[in-house]
Symmetry: C2
Protein backbone atom coordinates (compact mmCIF):
# COMPACT_ATOMS: atom_id res chain seq x y z
CA UNK A 1 0.00 0.00 0.00
CA UNK A 2 1.63 3.26 -1.05
CA UNK A 3 1.78 5.94 1.56
CA UNK A 4 0.00 8.84 -0.05
CA UNK A 5 -3.11 10.68 1.13
CA UNK A 6 -6.41 9.05 0.14
CA UNK A 7 -9.42 11.19 -0.73
CA UNK A 8 -12.48 9.47 0.70
CA UNK A 9 -14.72 10.59 -2.19
CA UNK A 10 -12.26 9.10 -4.66
CA UNK A 11 -11.97 5.86 -2.69
CA UNK A 12 -15.76 5.53 -2.64
CA UNK A 13 -15.94 6.16 -6.39
CA UNK A 14 -13.80 3.10 -7.16
CA UNK A 15 -16.41 0.49 -6.21
CA UNK A 16 -20.17 -0.03 -6.13
CA UNK A 17 -20.57 -3.19 -4.05
CA UNK A 18 -22.71 -2.80 -0.95
CA UNK A 19 -21.72 -4.11 2.50
CA UNK A 20 -18.26 -4.90 1.11
CA UNK A 21 -15.60 -2.88 2.98
CA UNK A 22 -12.38 -1.63 1.37
CA UNK A 23 -9.20 -1.08 3.37
CA UNK A 24 -7.96 2.46 2.70
CA UNK A 25 -5.04 2.56 5.13
CA UNK A 26 -3.63 0.72 8.12
CA UNK A 27 -2.67 2.04 11.56
CA UNK A 28 -0.41 -0.43 13.35
CA UNK A 29 -2.46 -3.65 13.33
CA UNK A 30 -5.74 -1.86 12.66
CA UNK A 31 -7.52 -1.28 9.36
CA UNK A 32 -9.31 1.84 8.29
CA UNK A 33 -12.10 0.65 6.00
CA UNK A 34 -14.82 2.36 4.02
CA UNK A 35 -18.04 0.79 2.81
CA UNK A 36 -21.16 1.67 0.89
CA UNK A 37 -24.25 0.29 2.55
CA UNK A 38 -27.97 0.16 1.86
CA UNK A 39 -30.74 -1.93 3.38
CA UNK A 40 -29.94 -4.29 6.24
CA UNK A 41 -26.78 -6.04 7.38
CA UNK A 42 -27.11 -9.03 9.76
CA UNK A 43 -27.14 -9.39 13.53
CA UNK A 44 -23.59 -10.26 14.54
CA UNK A 45 -21.11 -9.86 17.34
CA UNK A 46 -17.37 -9.22 17.58
CA UNK A 47 -16.43 -11.03 20.79
CA UNK A 48 -12.93 -9.58 21.06
CA UNK A 49 -13.02 -6.09 19.63
CA UNK A 50 -14.90 -2.83 19.67
CA UNK A 51 -15.94 -1.49 16.25
CA UNK A 52 -15.89 2.19 15.30
CA UNK A 53 -18.24 3.80 12.78
CA UNK A 54 -18.08 7.24 11.19
CA UNK A 55 -20.86 8.17 8.76
CA UNK A 56 -19.50 9.88 5.64
CA UNK A 57 -22.73 10.06 3.64
CA UNK A 58 -26.37 9.40 4.41
CA UNK A 59 -27.56 8.03 7.72
CA UNK A 60 -26.75 4.76 9.48
CA UNK A 61 -28.90 2.98 12.02
CA UNK A 62 -27.34 0.45 14.37
CA UNK A 63 -29.60 -1.89 16.34
CA UNK A 64 -27.94 -3.11 19.55
CA UNK A 65 -28.69 -5.91 22.00
CA UNK A 66 -27.00 -5.68 25.36
CA UNK A 67 -27.72 -6.30 29.05
CA UNK A 68 -30.38 -3.58 28.96
CA UNK A 69 -32.26 -5.16 26.07
CA UNK A 70 -32.56 -3.96 22.51
CA UNK A 71 -32.11 -0.36 21.43
CA UNK A 72 -30.91 1.42 18.36
CA UNK A 73 -28.81 4.45 17.62
CA UNK A 74 -29.15 6.71 14.61
CA UNK A 75 -25.99 8.21 13.13
CA UNK A 76 -26.49 11.13 10.77
CA UNK A 77 -23.69 12.11 8.42
CA UNK A 78 -20.71 13.40 10.37
CA UNK A 79 -21.34 11.40 13.51
CA UNK A 80 -19.43 8.57 15.16
CA UNK A 81 -20.24 5.61 17.39
CA UNK A 82 -18.32 2.69 18.87
CA UNK A 83 -20.05 -0.67 19.25
CA UNK A 84 -18.53 -2.30 22.35
CA UNK A 85 -17.03 -5.76 22.02
CA UNK A 86 -19.47 -8.54 22.79
CA UNK A 87 -22.50 -6.46 21.82
CA UNK A 88 -24.79 -7.96 19.18
CA UNK A 89 -25.52 -5.36 16.56
CA UNK A 90 -27.13 -4.96 13.16
CA UNK A 91 -26.33 -1.94 10.99
CA UNK A 92 -28.89 -0.77 8.47
CA UNK A 93 -29.36 2.17 6.12
CA UNK A 94 -32.78 2.26 4.44
CA UNK A 95 -31.76 5.16 2.19
CA UNK A 96 -28.11 4.24 1.77
CA UNK A 97 -24.96 5.51 3.44
CA UNK A 98 -21.18 5.49 3.22
CA UNK A 99 -19.24 4.70 6.36
CA UNK A 100 -15.68 4.57 7.68
CA UNK A 101 -14.65 1.93 10.23
CA UNK A 102 -11.67 1.25 12.52
CA UNK A 103 -11.07 -2.28 13.65
CA UNK A 104 -8.23 -4.76 14.04
CA UNK A 105 -6.87 -6.11 10.77
CA UNK A 106 -8.55 -9.44 10.05
CA UNK A 107 -11.84 -8.57 11.73
CA UNK A 108 -14.61 -10.23 9.72
CA UNK A 109 -17.51 -8.13 8.48
CA UNK A 110 -19.96 -10.54 10.11
CA UNK A 111 -18.07 -11.00 13.37
CA UNK A 112 -17.51 -14.21 15.30
CA UNK A 113 -21.17 -15.15 15.58
CA UNK A 114 -23.93 -14.10 13.22
CA UNK A 115 -27.29 -15.05 11.84
CA UNK A 116 -27.55 -16.57 8.37
CA UNK A 117 -25.79 -14.34 5.90
CA UNK A 118 -27.89 -13.31 2.88
CA UNK A 119 -26.25 -12.97 -0.52
CA UNK A 120 -26.15 -9.17 -0.37
CA UNK A 121 -23.71 -9.20 2.57
CA UNK A 122 -20.02 -9.80 1.83
CA UNK A 123 -18.23 -11.97 4.39
CA UNK A 124 -14.76 -10.43 4.33
CA UNK A 125 -12.00 -8.94 6.45
CA UNK A 126 -12.02 -6.10 3.91
CA UNK A 127 -10.78 -5.90 0.35
CA UNK A 128 -7.85 -3.90 -0.94
CA UNK A 129 -8.91 -0.60 -2.44
CA UNK B 1 -17.79 7.93 28.71
CA UNK B 2 -21.44 7.38 27.77
CA UNK B 3 -22.01 5.29 24.72
CA UNK B 4 -24.11 7.49 22.50
CA UNK B 5 -23.33 8.75 18.99
CA UNK B 6 -21.20 11.88 18.85
CA UNK B 7 -21.79 14.48 16.14
CA UNK B 8 -18.40 15.78 15.05
CA UNK B 9 -19.73 19.30 14.44
CA UNK B 10 -21.11 19.41 17.95
CA UNK B 11 -17.89 18.03 19.45
CA UNK B 12 -15.89 20.72 17.64
CA UNK B 13 -18.26 23.43 18.88
CA UNK B 14 -17.48 22.65 22.53
CA UNK B 15 -13.92 24.01 22.52
CA UNK B 16 -11.78 26.65 20.85
CA UNK B 17 -8.25 25.70 21.87
CA UNK B 18 -5.88 25.00 18.98
CA UNK B 19 -3.56 21.96 18.80
CA UNK B 20 -5.35 20.53 21.85
CA UNK B 21 -7.00 17.21 20.97
CA UNK B 22 -10.22 15.97 22.58
CA UNK B 23 -11.02 12.27 22.93
CA UNK B 24 -14.45 11.62 21.42
CA UNK B 25 -14.57 7.84 21.76
CA UNK B 26 -12.31 4.86 22.40
CA UNK B 27 -11.86 1.68 20.36
CA UNK B 28 -10.21 -1.02 22.46
CA UNK B 29 -7.00 0.64 23.67
CA UNK B 30 -7.09 3.34 20.98
CA UNK B 31 -8.45 6.88 21.14
CA UNK B 32 -10.39 8.70 18.47
CA UNK B 33 -9.51 12.37 18.92
CA UNK B 34 -10.54 15.59 17.23
CA UNK B 35 -8.57 18.83 17.18
CA UNK B 36 -8.79 22.33 15.82
CA UNK B 37 -5.49 23.44 14.33
CA UNK B 38 -4.04 26.57 12.76
CA UNK B 39 -0.46 27.60 12.06
CA UNK B 40 2.35 25.17 12.79
CA UNK B 41 2.74 22.25 15.16
CA UNK B 42 6.29 21.01 15.94
CA UNK B 43 8.56 18.42 14.41
CA UNK B 44 8.07 15.26 16.44
CA UNK B 45 8.14 11.50 16.16
CA UNK B 46 6.10 8.65 17.59
CA UNK B 47 8.65 5.85 17.85
CA UNK B 48 6.16 3.08 18.57
CA UNK B 49 2.97 3.91 16.74
CA UNK B 50 1.54 4.99 13.43
CA UNK B 51 -0.75 8.03 13.56
CA UNK B 52 -3.90 8.41 11.45
CA UNK B 53 -5.28 11.74 10.27
CA UNK B 54 -8.64 12.53 8.67
CA UNK B 55 -9.32 16.13 7.69
CA UNK B 56 -12.82 17.26 8.68
CA UNK B 57 -12.54 20.94 7.76
CA UNK B 58 -9.97 23.02 5.93
CA UNK B 59 -6.68 21.62 4.70
CA UNK B 60 -3.81 20.04 6.60
CA UNK B 61 -0.20 19.89 5.50
CA UNK B 62 2.13 17.32 7.00
CA UNK B 63 5.88 17.68 6.52
CA UNK B 64 7.70 14.34 6.74
CA UNK B 65 11.33 13.34 7.15
CA UNK B 66 12.18 9.77 6.31
CA UNK B 67 14.92 7.73 4.65
CA UNK B 68 14.17 9.47 1.34
CA UNK B 69 14.62 12.96 2.81
CA UNK B 70 12.01 15.60 3.48
CA UNK B 71 8.67 15.81 1.69
CA UNK B 72 5.22 16.98 2.55
CA UNK B 73 1.72 15.81 1.87
CA UNK B 74 -1.35 18.00 1.54
CA UNK B 75 -4.65 16.70 2.85
CA UNK B 76 -7.75 18.53 1.67
CA UNK B 77 -11.00 18.13 3.58
CA UNK B 78 -12.24 14.55 3.35
CA UNK B 79 -8.85 12.92 2.93
CA UNK B 80 -6.85 10.60 5.16
CA UNK B 81 -3.20 9.81 5.74
CA UNK B 82 -1.22 7.61 8.11
CA UNK B 83 2.17 8.79 9.37
CA UNK B 84 4.28 5.65 9.86
CA UNK B 85 5.86 5.06 13.25
CA UNK B 86 9.36 6.43 13.53
CA UNK B 87 8.78 9.13 10.92
CA UNK B 88 9.49 12.69 11.98
CA UNK B 89 6.58 14.88 11.02
CA UNK B 90 5.22 18.38 11.49
CA UNK B 91 1.56 19.13 10.81
CA UNK B 92 0.56 22.65 9.82
CA UNK B 93 -2.54 24.43 8.60
CA UNK B 94 -1.94 28.02 7.52
CA UNK B 95 -5.67 28.67 7.07
CA UNK B 96 -6.92 26.45 9.88
CA UNK B 97 -8.40 22.97 9.87
CA UNK B 98 -10.24 20.46 11.99
CA UNK B 99 -8.89 16.94 12.11
CA UNK B 100 -9.75 13.51 13.47
CA UNK B 101 -6.98 11.22 14.71
CA UNK B 102 -6.76 7.58 15.62
CA UNK B 103 -3.90 6.42 17.85
CA UNK B 104 -3.21 4.33 20.96
CA UNK B 105 -4.59 5.75 24.21
CA UNK B 106 -1.84 7.67 25.97
CA UNK B 107 -0.04 8.77 22.80
CA UNK B 108 1.34 12.26 23.45
CA UNK B 109 0.53 15.06 21.02
CA UNK B 110 4.25 15.81 20.65
CA UNK B 111 5.43 12.21 20.44
CA UNK B 112 8.47 10.66 22.08
CA UNK B 113 10.98 13.14 20.65
CA UNK B 114 10.27 16.68 19.57
CA UNK B 115 11.75 20.09 19.09
CA UNK B 116 11.09 22.82 21.66
CA UNK B 117 7.37 23.14 22.20
CA UNK B 118 6.01 26.68 21.80
CA UNK B 119 3.21 27.88 24.04
CA UNK B 120 0.53 27.47 21.37
CA UNK B 121 0.99 23.67 21.28
CA UNK B 122 -0.68 21.62 24.02
CA UNK B 123 1.41 18.68 25.28
CA UNK B 124 -1.31 16.16 26.07
CA UNK B 125 -2.50 12.61 25.48
CA UNK B 126 -5.87 14.22 24.68
CA UNK B 127 -8.47 15.82 26.91
CA UNK B 128 -11.93 14.53 27.66
CA UNK B 129 -14.56 16.14 25.47
Amino acid sequence: MSNEPVALDHALSTFDALWSPRVITQVNDYDVRVAKVEGEHVWHVHEHTDEFFLVLRGELDIALRDADGERHVTLPRGSVFTVPRGTEHKPSAPDGAAILMFEPTGTLSVGDRHEDVPSHVDVTPGHAL
